[in-house]
Amino acid sequence: MIVRISDDALARALGADELAEAFAKKGLEVERTSSWGMHWLEPLVEVNGLGWGPVTADRVDEICGGKADDICIGPIAAHPFIAGQQRLTFARAGKTRPTSLDDYEATGGWAGLRRARQIGGAQIVDEVTASGLRGRGGAGFPAGIKWKTVANIPGPQKYIVCNADEGDSGTFADRMVMEGDPYALIEGMAIAGEAVGADQGYIYVRSEYPDAIRKLNEALALCKALIAPFRCEVRVGAGAYVCGEETSLLNSLEGKRGEVRAKPPLPAIEGLFGKPTVVNNVLTLAAVPHILAEGGSAQYGALGIERSKGTMPIQLAGNIKHGGLYETAFGVTLRELIHDIGGGTESGRPVKAVQVGGPLGTYLHPDQFDIKFDYEAYTAADALIGHGGIVVFDDTADMGHMARFAMEFCAAESCGKCTPCRIGAVRGVEIIDRIRAGGRAADAVESQPVMHNASKSGRLPEQEIALLTDLCETMKFGSLCALGGFTPFPVMSALRNWPEDFMPGHEGAVQRVLDRNET
């Protein structure tokens, strides 16, 4: 009897290690696998395909005897949460031991790299382009086109950089790939290297992910010969959210302050140390081995809708009953994700707001839940898919506070290079505070008799809202990168959808100001 328990960071944070030890003490063989992604059931125990979760140490004896029916979920693979998914990037989730080369090989590992080496760079790029794979980090730029740009630039030194600085709240898919299927990421990087003629790769992992760092280093040591002549190294970040922005990440890799660079030049042309560089997100690179395997490109491209092809590992987080990883083809609606799959809020209260795409993502109102998961559909709705994280809030959330938090976060994490972000975020916090305080009285300078043109009655909250709208426009169009440029999305969407959380009793006034600013 083999007992399978995940060694993913989330399972471990919920006591999976202690549980594994308890089963081992009973004389049972325990295998530590990747996580199935059903986080509300972690720690999940699997015996002969049957699952129990969440398991506590006092239930070990019952499970050994095949009992504990109240927490038994039956065959795991048939669970509706798993059966409803189309897992390509996460095909191995729950099934293999993360750093076992045998398990990886036995589940189709390295087939993509072997084939890539046979067909050569130009055809690799063609197949990635044909699959329709777009950058999963947030921007959604076609991966094939980026690779082609790098491939076409001559030069002896090029780099493959994996952006594993997954700082967005509500996202954990990168972490799950790195901890659960590290070879898939490494294989994807080696294929990218083959495609563009790069022999050095870097994985930039945030320091908040100790388990991912450990497993990647372990995996890289084990597969060194298999990926040679391609070499790869893990670099650990140092707590700066902005280093998830690709140019800032490159500066950090070079050992500099993580300040954003102006584009152009694009990193594809002048990237790491000024050399042509492919910078892709973990999920983009981990999708590549499947695409490069026989027939993978066509299969990938057949999934999804419009220009959003393939699958997206969606992360259900926040106040949601069935949180976890849900990989499915593009086109699924928010309503399906939150209510049918996610089971609504964990607190049992009504859903008030949903933030899609991390701290810089729009707060969507339940009225907008018919929106389909698709890059263009979200852009049209003034929203973004980002890295595919969905954070659910129940009706106790104060959206005025969340808008303030978005500005506060931007102020804390701004790299300081451009003014709209560095100063705008600080002013944004102040303005939101004043709106919520009902405006402000005339200040000492304005009250001076000599200040003829200054208002003597201070500023009304409506005027503060006009100012906030203006500031958000400036940040949106004037910032160098997405941190300053996208912070207005959560702020303005919160203001538009929940004016009562900014000016209780004066929702109409907020609406009038917003309408006036938009015309």
């Binding site: 650990v236 970040g237 959210y241 500099k256 926040g318 976890g324 994490e413």
Partner: protein, 143 residues
């Protein structure tokens, strides 16, 4: 040559041949010395043939590097959106009480356990699905 200078020289030597080695060096230096203070910055600048301003600029940019050592155990609490949606803010007052002067509480934006928050980190050990009582026990057991 002081022992500190010698040790820094050794750490720099361990990273010889690496491209852009400053961040990994700073991680190692801080792990060894507890912080990256002004004296260390000057020694690193000398060892790496950079200006002290270059080093200070990098050290002060990143949240992970500190200018002063703090001997207290540290508990990081995630207070990003997903953990807020799961009620972390209501736990802060009691967490601060449990920490007192003995434990240093810091805010972190996201530990990647967003479907099972509130979450906290002590060293390399993570804790999820915390309530006031469990968080207090995490803080009390922090060494």
């Amino acid at each position: 040559m002081s022992t500190k200078e010698q040790r820094i020289g050794e750490i720099v030597a361990e990273h010889a041949g690496r491209e852009g080695p400053l961040i990994p060096i700073l991680h190692d230096v801080q792990a060894e010395l507890g912080c990256v203070d002004g004296e260390t910055e000057a020694l690193l600048a000398k060892a790496l043939n950079l200006s002290r301003a270059d080093i200070h600029g990098v050290v002060s940019f990143y949240h992970d590097f500190h200018a002063e050592a703090d001997p207290r155990p540290e508990v990081q609490i995630c207070r990003a959106e997903a953990c807020q949606a799961r009620g972390v803010e209501a736990l802060i007052a009691s967490a601060e009480k449990a920490a007192g002067e003995r434990v240093k509480l810091t805010t972190v934006y996201c530990l990647g356990l967003c479907s099972a928050g509130p979450s906290a980190r002590v060293g390399d050990r993570l804790h999820a699905r915390l309530d006031a009582k469990r968080l207090a026990s995490v803080i009390e057991n922090a060494r």
